[in-house]
């Protein structure tokens, strides 16, 4: 007499009327990207944070010591300090975006996963937002989070509120600069992931797209406005705008902002074409 019948059994639960599928995609995707290489890069990217944290501590707590007075005087903890930190993290950001984003859509296309997603109540926007949040999460871990922590540390270690009163706007600048970096670089890596055959080619192209125009800019400094085709240069220019610093290049920072918005918009347009559940072969 069988004690268990292997047969179909109905499920009597209740489905959510509006499942937040973008969140499910982001959560699961982020978990899948948590691998050895990613952890290693995150740990390496934490080193500059530790150094900057130590600098703040020394400046705030040991600044009165005569041996350190000279060094502390040279160390200005102002808007430029936080902008420099973000610029220093750019290399790690590129690595993290490659590790997190290069295979995100490429592998879905390779394994036919798009048919699974779009046969569930997942719209194009849910899918793209979910995938973007994966790269944004890892990108923020090495830029937004440590930079805000450094600011918080500077505020908490201060004897008075003078710094906060003078630089209360810095967190907004940090958020703005990180958002610009992630929207453009994250958008580009997702586009490359959706258009190239695999994660390796997406990674190589991404690296080339960031370095080649920047090299051209450096080789041909006489050509005015060439920096506009280099995303790192444009991001430096917008960083200077947001942190109230001297502009490093001769093109308008607002124009640079327009270029970044254009890149983000173009990325979205390409994704709209490339992210489809069915490939039509003619």
């Amino acid at each position: 007499m069988p004690i268990y019948e292997e047969t179909y059994r109905a499920w009597h639960g209740q489905l959510a009327a509006r499942p937040r599928t973008w969140w499910i995609i982001a959560r699961t995707g982020s978990r899948l990207r948590w691998k050895r290489a990613m952890i290693l890069v995150l740990l390496l990217a934490a080193l500059p944070f530790l150094v900057r944290g130590a600098q703040i501590y020394v400046a705030m707590r040991l600044g009165d010591s005569p041996e350190l007075a000279e060094m502390v005087q040279e160390l200005q903890i102002d808007a430029g300090f936080f902008a420099d930190f973000l610029r220093g993290q750019a290399f790690f950001l590129v690595l993290v975006l490659i590790l997190a984003g290069a295979g995100l859509i490429a592998s879905d296309r390779k394994f036919g996963a798009l048919a699974v997603y779009f046969s569930k109540p997942v719209r194009f926007w849910d899918y793209v937002l979910g995938k973007f949040l994966i790269v944004a999460f890892y990108g923020s871990l090495i830029t937004l989070l440590p930079c805000l922590l450094l600011f918080l540390m500077r505020v908490l270690l201060a004897q008075d509120a003078a710094f906060l009163q003078e630089y209360y706007w810095i967190p907004f600048s940090i958020i703005g600069q990180v958002a610009l970096s992630l929207l453009t670089l994250g958008g580009v890596i997702l586009v490359l992931s959706s258009t190239t055959g695999g994660s390796r080619s997406a990674a190589i192209l991404f690296f080339a797209m960031l370095t080649v125009p920047d090299l051209l800019r450096q080789i041909l400094p006489s050509i005015s406005g060439l920096g506009l085709v280099s995303l790192p240069a444009v991001l430096r220019q917008t960083s200077a705008l947001l942190f109230g610093l001297e502009r490093p290049f001769d093109f308008s920072a607002w124009l640079g902002l327009g270029v970044l918005m254009g890149v983000a918009g173009l990325s979205l347009a390409v994704l709209k074409i490339r992210v489809r559940p069915t490939e039509v072969v003619r």
């Binding site: 292997e6 047969t7 179909y8 059994r9 109905a10 499920w11 639960g13 489905l15 959510a16 009327a17 509006r18 499942p19 599928t21 499910i24 995609i25 699961t28 899948l32 592998s107 879905d108 390779k110 394994f111 036919g112 996963a113 798009l114 048919a115 699974v116 997603y117 779009f118 046969s119 569930k120 109540p121 997942v122 719209r123 559940p277 069915t278 039509v280 003619r282």
Partner: protein, 308 residues
């Protein structure tokens, strides 16, 4: 009705994949039968919103596929023809993920994933990454992800494709088991007639994006009850010629047998008359038992012939 289609048309550029398709799939199991390129997969993808409609309308479980796509997708399960895996996930992880995307909470989705994987025979392999699965296992995981949220309607696109005979048998048993519970309707698209015969109550035969025949399995076979199997003594050339003069279509049905299709409105009298005229002794005359394959080949043949 599970599905109602009205002038449902899907085009890919100049190619019309589904051409003004109007029919209904009632509750129960319906086989969508047609040769490769008939438009079966496009029809299903159109119902799911995976390809845009050129014109026409459709409702799935009473919901309009254009205006309520999310509600449609939540109430159906879809097993695609091609491989579809979520790379990096284990079997149980992928099915749980599919459940969550459909609107289940995490705990329910996980519990249900284990149940469904047991049902499809992947309980031993549930903790393996899905990329390592064999072709047969991939078919099973595709079915599992389609079933996890207990849909009211299940679309199966070539569910036995790439499976070995044993796996195929098990898959068909499973589909039969699901359809026999009468809690879920099934639309099975395939070009393999045996699969439809084994699992479906009703059949829609389509070719070049159009409906050619539809009805219950019994009705469809009955439509072609004008075919008789005849055995004669000795040579049958003169008998055959006589039959053809009377307007019958004659096909050899083996070494000693002939399959004779009598003209519309005629009965066995035409065969008896041909035997008398050709002085042939009949040893056997029975109504031919039509398989779905006979019906299918005849309908498709007529359609292809009409297009010439």
């Amino acid at each position: 009705m599970s599905v109602t289609l009205q002038d449902f048309t899907i085009t890919y550029g100049d190619l019309t994949a589904v051409d003004s398709f109007s029919t209904t799939f009632p509750a129960g199991s319906t086989g969508l039968l047609g040769p490769n390129g008939a438009g079966k997969s496009s029809l299903i993808k159109g119902l799911l919103g995976l390809v845009p409609l050129a014109s026409g309308s459709a409702t799935v479980l009473g919901k309009d596929v254009r205006t309520e796509p999310k509600a449609v997708l939540q109430s159906i399960g879809y097993m695609p023809e091609d491989d579809c895996l979520i790379p990096g996930l284990t079997g149980v992880g992928m099915v749980q993920y599919a459940g969550e995307l459909s609107g289940m909470n995490r705990v329910d989705a996980l519990q249900r994933a284990h149940e469904v994987l047991f049902l499809v025979g992947l309980d031993e392999a549930r903790y393996r990454e899905v990329e390592t699965y064999s072709a047969g296992m991939k078919q099973r995981i595709k079915l599992a992800q389609a079933l996890v949220h207990d849909p009211r309607l299940l679309f199966l696109d070539e569910p036995t494709s790439g499976m070995d005979p044993k796996g195929r048998q098990e898959m068909l048993d499973l589909i039969q088991n699901i359809s026999s519970r009468e809690v879920m309707s099934i639309v099975l698209a395939t070009h393999i007639m045996v699969d439809v015969e084994r699992t479906c109550d009703r059949v829609v035969i389509m070719n070049k994006g159009r409906v050619l025949k539809k009805g219950s399995m019994q009705d469809l076979r009955g439509t072609y009850s004008d075919v008789y199997t005849v055995r004669v003594k000795g040579e049958h050339e003169r008998f055959r010629a006589a039959l053809e003069r009377e307007g019958c279509a004659v096909q050899p049905g083996g070494k000693y047998f002939l399959d004779v299709t009598v003209p519309e409105g005629r009965d066995t009298d035409v065969i008896l008359e041909a035997a008398r005229v050709s002085e042939t002794q009949l040893r056997k005359l029975v109504t031919s038992v039509q398989t779905l394959e006979d019906v299918f080949l005849k309908v498709i043949g007529e359609d292809d012939h009409a297009d010439l």
